[in-house]
Amino acid sequence: MGQPLLRLKGLTKTYPGVVANSDISFDLNQNEIHALLGENGAGKSTLVKIIYGLVRPDSGDMLLRGEPYEPDNPATARAAGVGMVFQHFSLFDALDVAENIALGMDSPPPMRELARSIREVSHEYGLPLDPTRLVGELSAGERQRVEIIRCLLQNPKLLIMDEPTSVLTPQEVEILFQTLRKLRDEGTSILYISHKLEEIRSLCEHATVLRLGKVVATCDPRQKSARELAEMMVGTTLQPPARSTIPEGQTVLELRDLSLKSENLFGTSLKNVSVSLRRGEILGIGGVAGNGQDELLAALSGEARSRRDSVILEGKPIGHLGPLARRRLGLLAAPEERLGHAAAPDMSLTENALLTGAVREKLVKGGFVDWSGARAFADRVIERFDVRTPGAHVAARALSGGNLQKFVIGREIMQRPGVLVVNQPTWGVDASAAAAIRQALIDLAENGAAVILISQDLDEILEIADSFAALNGGRLSNPRPVRGLTLEEIGLMLGGAHDMEVAHAST
């Protein structure tokens, strides 16, 4: 087999308050596609930053082709033959493909030569690119190609890819996989970070699983089932869902053919989303970020108006109504971005309580604000949801992520919504706060409200949702009851192989 391409020995990195990586050791061989698996917070991104030279480890070594490897910045890493395609692209929309690639290279050749190389290499690897096109006009999949070609043109021996398929359609995923396999055969190894278990099983020969900063398992994913891999990541046997049957309550919310063009020039537009929701039901909508979650929340909260009858609440068309009117009718929402969207960072919790609570808690009388009422409301939220804070007078930005999230979700739950929509409610939140939030959502549903839970966290959806639908490229799959749903099936739904017409690459 020969020596490994990259050997990690005892890598450790600590930040104030958290051990990101603890004594990590594993080998990455030549001609191998190696998966790095783990939940949010498992330490994958820190590890990868160490390998790419963005972060220095506190202790431990790395050997690249048998030689000590200690990059102190990405340029050094690139010079040693390590390339990385990040999850969030560093691209310039107003510039063309060739210019974008040139900007990301350390010593780019003259433009004409570069354009030629781009054409050649991109075609050779099945990811064709026209160097003269503006990046802003490219689809998400094509934009990723730019990032990949940028790396490939520097002849890496090791290519790191961070969640590469989160923005790809099924066909693009297949094309990407062919490219990666070709690269592997030609001598470039790939370190593939993802949580899409089916993909890893079909692409990778070797997988290292991280949990809480440590390596907990290595295996050949082709020999394991998706469920086994999931259990390795999470560390426990997955419980069957807690909710037994789908409630038979009345239909309270209906989306009919909801189509919405994204406001964001490069966001994902919603296409013919249709689903109905009953009282007491928790609908889990899964999907990796960038598939229309923000747009769906905006369409439901009222920040984005749509066709009158595309959103129907208790039989009444409300697509044209704004956030205030919808709150009055009992439809509340909690967006993903805590600071800046759900809450104003520099304002106190009292003011943030007023932000959404004004209507339902009757905090505005004759145009004048009832500050003591707002304060009391904030205090109630803080108390009920165990928000750790010196008081309601503190600015939102001073709270920890978990506490602020408890406040933001708690604020909506305490307004007694008829329908509550939450987007990534436990993202970046510690385990106990997450558990509290999930329990609160279940309690809300038990009391007759309907909940739409938009989340990237499959376990969360399995734990508390009654039904599950996948949001993929702005389209929503048909909902399936969670009971009896397997992880494999979910993975497939998220990967797009569902019982709907597959979406096309460009909108």
């Binding site: 969207h341 304002m347 930005r397």
Partner: protein
């Protein structure tokens, strides 16, 4: 290595200290400026800041001037501050001031010489309306066509100045005094005259209006939902939309309000201290008010203090001009420096300066 670290919440200490420090720095820098101009810096600073208030010799004349100058500054700045908080940049207050004056004076001149209690109130309405309408131009252009309100409101200042000249030399010219520009002096029209309310203090209806505006702004910002929405829109636009604030409405309200207040200031000025519509009527209150608004941290009480401070520099500057023959432009420089220092020091309210060692290994 110096590093900037964002504070968890804005520092109250520095919010108050920054304007004070900025004034102190300006005094020092100003002192150097005056020395460079060949004047004794200490005498100059004393003339500008202390003598107008406390001097035996000049105080009696200067003190009333304080209210006369501070009134319009405060009135305009209050209106501007609400817009600035929301991120709506009305830079054309000078133009709205002029148009308000023209509307107000226009009503008076049209009704001259008929006496009547209703004339002055009518002028007030006209003045506010004039400023409001002039500000509606950038407002509508922004909400309907997404045109930058800074440029539009500013260009309209120049248009307003030309309009002022046109009126002074044409339509509003005093027919009784041919050959000279300028309208009738409203001092001679009692029903329209904005007279001193308390003799010797400089207090006229415009000053009273300024104080009323301060109270109104305070209540609006702290107690009214609109005030909350204004602040929210300026701080976190996405959260404002989430909360249900309609951005177009906010733009119209902010520009309309500041335009109306500026127009009022203009009207009070033309019917009071200035007396007539003339080519040199506009002295730049609309621009100085911007400095007052920032110096006062966009806060009603701060604006009162800042208004008095800047009025002081105007009057003191006149004194220094008279006694030391200090050029009048130096006061403008002084005021510009004040804004500079304030902006520079503002950093400290939101960021801490840290010395950190270079990364180990």
């Amino acid at each position: 290595m110096l590093r900037l670290e964002k504070r968890p919440s804005p520092s109250t200490v520095w919010t108050i200290a920054t304007p004070l420090l900025a004034v102190a720095f300006t005094m020092v820098a100003g002192g150097f400026l005056f020395a460079a101009l060949g004047k004794d810096p200490f005498v100059a600073i004393k003339l500008i800041f202390f003598d107008p208030l406390f001097s035996e010799q000049y105080g009696a004349y200067s003190r009333p001037q304080l209210l006369i100058k501070a009134g319009p500054l405060i009135l305009i700045a209050i209106g501007l501050s609400i817009g600035f908080r929301a991120g709506v940049w009305n830079i054309g207050a000078e133009g709205q001031y002029i148009v308000g004056a023209l509307f107000g004076a226009g009503v008076a001149l049209a009704l001259f010489p008929t006496p009547g209690w209703y004339i002055f109130p009518l002028m007030i309405v006209a003045g506010a309306l004039g400023g409001f309408l002039w500000a509606m131009i950038p407002a509508i252009l922004k909400t309907r066509f997404n045109t930058n309100e800074i440029l539009v409101s500013l260009l309209l200042v120049y248009v307003a100045e030309k309009l002022l000249a046109a009126m002074s030399l044409g339509l509003m010219r005093n027919p009784d005094i041919p050959g000279f520009p300028g309208s009738r002096n409203l001092r001679h029209y009692p029903s329209a005259h904005n007279a001193e309310l308390i003799a010797g203090t400089g207090m006229h209806w415009g000053v009273a209006a300024a104080f009323i505006a301060v109270i109104f702004a305070y209540v609006l910002l702290h107690r009214h939902i609109l005030g909350f929405q204004v602040q929210l829109a300026g701080q976190a636009p996405r959260a404002a939309r989430f909360a249900g604030v309609a951005p177009a409405k906010l733009v119209v309200v902010c520009l309309g309000l500041s335009g109306a207040l500026a127009g009022l200031a203009g009207m009070f000025e033309v019917s009071g201290p200035a007396g007539q519509v003339n080519i040199d009527f506009a002295v730049g209150y609309g621009f100085t008010a911007i400095i007052v608004a920032f110096l006062g941290r966009l806060h009603p009480v701060g604006i009162v203090l800042a208004g008095f401070l800047l009025a002081l520099t105007f009057i003191g500057g006149e004194l220094a001009q008279f006694i030391l023959r200090l050029p009048s432009a130096s006061i403008q420089v002084f005021q510009g420096m004040l804004l500079f220092f304030l902006l520079a020091l503002d950093l400290l309210t939101n960021y801490r300066i840290r010395f950190s060692p270079a990364e180990a290994r």
